[in-house]
Structure formats: C-alpha cells, structure tokens
C-alpha cells in the first residue's frame, strides 16, 4: 500500500468510525440499529441464493454500508456437518461465495471463513462445497479444529455464560457477518442466527450442560456482534435437524433474510419454519435481555419477490 492510500483509507475509516461513535457510542459500530441501513430487515423470495443476495444487499444500501475499505471481514457460515450441499445442513456455498465477492467489491482487505465443525472438519469443509467456493473468490478458509485457535473472552452480564473461548478470527477482524442456514433443531427447535454462534466458540459442551437456551442468549451479549446477518432459507431442513437424514427432511423455500438485528432474524426464521417463537426459548430470552427485537410488527421490513 502506498503511503498516500494508507492515509486516505485511515482518514476514511477514522471518519466513519467517528461518525458512528458520535451517533451513540462504540456499541453502535457493531449493534443492530445501524443508522446507515434503510430497513431493519430485507426478505427476498423466489431466486437463487446468489441472486437473492444481490437484490437484498442492494436494498440495504450495498455491502459498503457494512464493510469499509481496507477492513478485514469474517464470514461465519454453518459448516458443521459432513454432508453435500443438497442436504442443506450447511449454508449454501453459492451464497457464501457471493457475499465474499461483495465484501471484496466494497474494498475489504481480507475475507475469512471458518466454522468450529461438529463432524470431522476436513470432510465438512470439503463436502459442504464451502471451502472450494470461498477459495475460488479469494477468501481465506481457516481451520477451527484446535483449541489453540481460541482465546478467552469475558461476557459481562451473562447469566449462565460469563466467559468463553472464541476463535482468534473473531477478535482480529473488523467486520463479522453471520451467515446461518435455517434448520429445525432437535432440542432448541430451531437453529439460525443466535445458535450459529456456537460455531465461534471452543467449548460447546458447556452450553449444552448449563442451560443451552440461556447460554445461546448470553453469548449474544458479547461486544463483537454481527454487522449483518444473512439467513439462508433456500433449502430448509424442517425435521431431523440440525443434521438431517435424507432429502425428505428438506423443503425448497427459495428465500433469504438479511437483517442487522439477529433476534428479529430468528423471529422471522421461526415463522418460515412454522414454529411458535415462544417455543424457541432463546428468542424471548434474548429479546428480554434487550439484544434485539422479536416483535416483527414494529420493524421496518422490506419484502421482495423475484
């Protein structure tokens, strides 16, 4: 980088940060109510995952709203399972690829992709198609299989979860984009935005044994929040989640939800899945903790059909 470019970009980033700070504190850099976005949520239906994202992000003012020039971006899809894309246990690779492309177009310096997988990570990265898709457009696909990649963080105010070990990428990147896939879940009834964070941490077992629903909500308190949540509802696993057994578990919904509020995103996703929001305990808990808004009626939602 030339010195002139460096000065330009740092002045730009500084101004952006300064502007955001003046609008209401450091938290605003990460939290839901990003002032720059026109809508709280954009829902798209009827296209391919990549085309729907093109349209959705445009409605939110383009990727430039979330990613500044020279920033490092972390994209966290769900890559938890060793299955092929058609079985929809992992985020659609086409969607991940298109988000990366938008990040680079917005001037991202580096885009990283990882997940702490449940099945063998090498197989998950490969068979999900995400590793190949992400690398093909220049993102760095980083392993998350070893504790040495994870660092201790504190979660002040957490009721059950007061600390966790998160992947170093979450700490080292400037922008965090959460890209879950909507699925049925065997015990929490649904996995989407909030539950996708279990792939950011090392010790998932602790969550399971210490009130899973409360831990999921508690983690959302952590300061590094997603700048944007992109919910993949193209193929949706409506039963036998989160892993699925066969194609009979999948319903083609051809939809996508983009939102800066992950609690609202989960609420909308619950509607898509046809599960009452109250049944998915971590959503009302997170709502009460002030981590987002599950009342979709009070949100400014843009709905688009392609």
């Amino acid at each position: 980088m030339k010195r002139r470019d460096f000065l330009k970009s740092s002045v730009g980033a500084g101004m952006a940060a300064g502007a955001a700070l003046s609008l209401g504190g450091y938290e605003k850099l990460w939290t839901s109510t990003s002032s720059a976005a026109k809508y709280d949520m954009v829902a798209v239906m009827g296209g391919n995952p990549d085309a729907m994202f093109d349209l959705g992000i445009q409605e939110l003012g383009g990727m430039g709203t979330f990613v500044q020039k020279g920033q490092k971006v972390l994209i966290k899809p769900n890559i938890g399972w060793d299955v092929i894309p058609d079985l929809a246990a992992n985020t659609n690779p086409l969607l991940v690829k298109r988000i990366i492309e938008h990040c680079f177009k917005a001037g991202a310096k580096e885009v990283y992709v990882f997940d702490h997988t449940i099945d063998n990570w090498v197989n998950c990265y490969r068979n999900s198609g995400i590793e190949k898709a992400a690398k093909s457009v220049g993102a760095k696909v980083v392993p998350g299989n070893s504790e040495s990649y994870y660092h201790q963080i504190e979660i002040p105010g957490g009721i059950k979860l007061q600390s966790a070990k998160v992947h170093q990428l979450l700490l080292e990147t400037d922008v965090f984009i959460n890209v879950p896939i909507l699925k049925d879940h065997n015990s929490t009834r649904m996995t989407c935005c909030l539950k996708n964070t279990m792939g950011l941490v090392w010790d998932r077992g602790y969550w399971h044994s210490n009130n899973l629903n409360q831990c999921i909500a508690d983690y959302a308190l952590y300061e590094k929040k997603p700048a944007l949540n992109v919910i993949d509802c193209y193929n949706v696993m409506v039963k036998h989640g989160p892993q699925g057994v066969s194609k009979e578990d999948i319903v083609l919904m051809k939809s996508q939800i983009l939102t800066t509020d992950w609690v609202a995103g989960d609420a909308a996703a619950a509607k898509m899945l046809g599960v009452a929001i109250e049944k998915i305990e971590y959503i009302p808990i997170a709502h009460k903790m002030g981590l987002g808004n599950m009342n979709l009626d009070s949100l400014n939602i843009k709905r688009i059909k392609m």
Partner: protein, 519 residues
C-alpha cells in the same frame, strides 16, 4: 556378480520402501489413497500369511512371492522389504558414526537355541492358542507401532509448531492437528521393543533379526537351500577379515571362507568392502560345513521404566477440555462388550486375526481407534478398539476397513458401512442433563446420523432423548457429544457380532414451498 551396484541398489530401494512406510503411517491428512497403501502392504510377510489364510485368494499371496524370493536369493526380504529391518540398518549406520574408523562386528556364533525356540514357540502358540506371539514379534507390526506411537506424534508436533508460526503470518495451509493421546500403559510394549531393537541395532547390527525375529529365522531356514548367495573366491582372498568386521549380521567366517546363509540378509556390504574382489553374489555349490562353537557374549538389555514413560509423553497435543456440568452424573455405563471397528464383524474372529500393527489407528481421520488395554482381554492388547469418550466414527468413512493388511477388518463399501451396527446406543435417563438440570440439551440426538437417537416430549417445553436401536449403527457420536461427566448419559454397548442395521425410514414433510412470507 561383484558389482558395487548391488549394494547401491539395495540402499536406494530400501530407502524408498522405508520412506513409503514412514509416509503411510504419518500421513495425518490422509492424502495417500488406500490402493497405494495396499500395494505397499502386499509383500509384508506375516500380514499376507494371515490375509491369505482368511481369504484364500491370490490377491493376498504376497508371502508366496517372499518365499520364492527367499529360495532364489536368501533373506533379501530382510534388507529390501522389511521396514523394521531397514530401520535397523539406519540405526546401525548412525551407531557406526559414533565409533572411530569403522565398526567391528566380526564373526559371532548364532544364537541357535534361542532363535529356533522363539520360532517354535511362536508357531505352537499361534496354532494352539492364538495370535499373541505374532502380535508381539511380527516385524511389520512392531514397526507399525513405532510409527503410530512415536514417529507420528512427533511429526504432528512439528506440523503444529510450523502451523502456529505460519498462522501468525495469516497463512493457513498447515493446520493444527490434535495429537492422539492413548493411555500410558499401551506405550509400554512398543517402548520396550523400541529400546530392545534400537539398542541391538545401534551396537550389534542385525542381531535382533538373527536372534529374535521369527520371520528372519524362518526365512533363514529356507535360505539354506537358496540358489544365490555370497561366495568366496578362495584363491583371491587374502584373509584380511574386512568383510567379517563390516558384516552387520556377524555371519562371515572368513577363516573358513564361509557365510552363514541363515543369517545373511543380502546387504552386499561385504562385496564392496572386499579389496581383493574375492566376494561375489552367485550360485554356490553346497559343501559340508563343520560347525565349531565360538564363545560369544550376551548382553542383558536393561530398559529404564522412567525412560519409557518419558517417551510416551512426546507431545502436549490439543485435546478437548472436558465440559463442566453442575452435577456429576451418577449411573455407571455398563458395557458388556467393547466396540470393535467396522469390518471386524465378530470380536472373537477379529481378535484372532489382528497383529496390532496399528495402521488403522494411524489412518483413522477422526482418532476414534485406540489401542485396547484390557477391553478385549489380555489376548487383544494393543488391538484397535473404538473409544467413544475420545472421538466418534465418521459416518462417511471406511478407511480402516480398506487398509487392514491382515483382513482382520474386512473391506466395507460406504453404503454397507453406513448400515453396519457396531453396537447399540443405550440411554441412561438418570444421567441426562434434561432430567438432572431440567434444561434443554440434545447434544446426542443432534449428532446422530440416522436419528436412532431422537427427542421426545418431556416436562413442559423440554425434549428428552430416546433410542430406536434397530436403526442405530453404534458410531458413538451421541456418546462423544454427551456433556455429562464422569459417566455419559448415553453410551454404545458393542455387539459381539456386528449386524445389519435397518435403514432409517423417512417421509416427506407436510410443509410446502411457501408462496408468501409468513411474516
């Protein structure tokens, strides 16, 4: 033949073989396809014998090739194909550098009683009781254990060190690999043998091969009638003795112009050493041999236990830290059978055929295979057993079944493996978080690939696991994922004989493709 090329060929060929074996065992990224591994393993004597005995197919007849080779040229196998033998050559070469000038082996009397007793005991024990002696003494299996328990962890530690450095520079081509940690006791046998074989080869060349190894002794017997062998040109020989001093098998009695073919491993070092060009490799007319006893010293090998345990702690690998639930679980898991790896079919048969070479333990990409301690009884010590507290069997994987050199693990195609029930999951409700803590968990059911473990309504909004055991394949993912300690709330009890699991039945959901947003 008197060409120096003989020795060079041997060195180049054996080095390649050794490198191949080394790579196969340390290949922690599973880059080498199973077909290549099987080609390499084809000529390993003991595994081939066992495989042939089980399958009666020429595809497993590598040992016949070895026998023919032995009839032709003596113990060529020991220098060219045996990874343990080649490893010993490497050791004695290093040992040689610690001595000034060159190492003086000299002619030694063979340990006739000892080596033939060991061969006889091995044969008798194997025929009457089972595979124990072969497990203990098969050179390939010994080598396999050295690689699995010492070399591989060492390589992974180096990899992790490099991965850590590269990671600092934002390069992720190398990734951190967890080092498999086995219980300390299983390191005892390989460590004892490592010291025994290591010390003997370091100081005495091929003494292990000529004193203990039953394969070496057997091939040595056969070599008595081999066609090609090292021979003296008595007219050219000046009795300088260099050949004998440089012979790592200590089998050249230059005063009698005699080479003990039962111990000669065809290394061809003597041909190059001889300045008088009196030694060559060719057809020899058998002549009456007068046996003269010669005093030789035996040294007792004392292994330090402290050193054993030191060796076993080669690494501080990455291990999942155990989660800490509020209360300890109370009900003990009651396993009546251990879980035998896929392809093992019947535990009893598996125990008879496995030589504990540990190749499957090395190759398992998920680290679920562990050397048994007492799970199979003393008979099956070091044989692989599924350890579901450490890991689980990957649904989409058949690697262990594809590479087993003795066919103790029969090959399974993926579709068959996915329907092979290694054991059955058993749910212990009194240990379950859902019951003890009254909070949601479902880690077991989440991980179940067939949904044999599924959730049913419990108190309030809670769901609790239930097992449909006819579709359970015993992969152990539920047991691994279960966060309770010290006892799991769900565990897999092994099947004494693997059976076919039912295919999960699945019907389409009522939910249809939406046309409008439901919000």
């Amino acid at each position: 033949m008197r060409s120096p090329l003989l020795r060079r060929t041997r060195i180049v060929f054996s080095t390649l073989i050794f490198i191949c074996f080394f790579l196969v065992f340390v290949d922690f990224k599973n880059l080498i396809p199973a077909e290549y591994i099987n080609i390499l393993l084809f000529l390993q004597f003991i595994p081939s014998v066992i495989k042939f005995y089980n399958l009666e197919t020429l595809a497993a007849a590598g040992f016949l090739v070895v026998l023919v080779l032995t009839l032709l040229s003596g113990r060529t196998y020991c220098s060219f194909l045996c990874p343990l033998g080649i490893g010993q050559d490497l050791f004695s070469r290093i040992g040689g550098h610690f001595k000034r000038k060159f190492r003086r082996y000299g002619f030694k009397r063979p340990f006739t009683v000892l080596r033939y007793s060991l061969l006889a005991i091995t044969l008798i024990v194997t025929l009457i009781w089972g595979i124990y002696m072969i497990t203990l003494l098969d050179p390939y299996s010994i080598f396999g254990r050295f690689m699995t328990y010492f070399a591989r962890p060492a390589v992974i530690v180096i990899n992790n060190f490099l991965a850590g450095i590269l990671g600092k520079f934002d390069i992720y081509t190398l990734s951190n690999v967890p080092v498999k940690r086995f219980s300390l006791i299983v390191y005892f046998v390989p460590a004892a043998f490592f010291i025994l074989v290591g010390v003997l080869s370091f100081t005495k060349g091929r003494l292990y091969c000529n004193m203990i190894c039953p394969v070496g002794t057997l091939l040595g017997l056969l070599s008595k009638v081999s066609l090609l062998r090292i021979k003296f040109d008595e007219k050219a020989c000046t009795r300088c003795g260099r050949c004998s001093l440089g012979c790592k098998s200590s089998c050249i009695d230059f005063l009698k112009y005699d080479v003990d073919v039962t111990r000669c491993v065809d290394c061809f070092n003597c041909i190059n050493t001889c300045q008088d060009k009196a030694l060559s490799f060719g057809i020899v007319k058998l002549k009456k041999k007068v046996h003269e006893t010669d005093e030789s010293k035996r040294k007792i090998i004392a292994g330090s236990f402290l050193l054993l345990f030191g060796l076993s702690r080669v690494s501080n690998g990455q291990q999942k830290t155990a989660p800490i639930p509020k209360k300890d679980s109370t009900v003990k898991e009651n396993k009546t059978h251990p879980v035998c790896p896929p392809g093992g079919v019947a535990i009893e048969d598996f125990n008879k055929d496995c030589t504990a070479c540990s190749l499957c333990i090395s190759a398992c990409p998920n680290g679920v295979l562990h050397p048994a301690f007492t799970q199979y009884g003393i008979a099956g010590m070091m044989q692989p057993v599924m350890d579901y507290h450490k890991s689980f069997c990957t649904y989409n994987c058949t690697i262990c079944t594809e590479i087993c050199p003795t066919n103790a693990l029969h090959p399974l195609v993926l579709e068959a493996k996915k329907l092979t029930q290694l054991g059955k999951a058993i749910f212990i409700k009194d240990n379950c978080i859902v019951k003890t803590e009254k909070t949601a968990c479902g880690a077991c059911s989440e991980s179940c690939p067939t949904k044999a473990v599924h959730m049913i309504p419990y108190e309030g909004n809670l769901l609790i696991p239930e097992v449909t055991d006819d579709i359970c394949i015993g992969c152990g993912h539920c047991e691994y994922a279960c966060p309770t300690i010290p006892y799991k709330a769900i565990f897999v009890n092994g099947n004494a004989v693997h059976v076919a699991a039912k295919k999960p039945v699945n019907v389409e959901s009522d939910i249809k493709t939406p046309v409008e947003f439901p919000f």
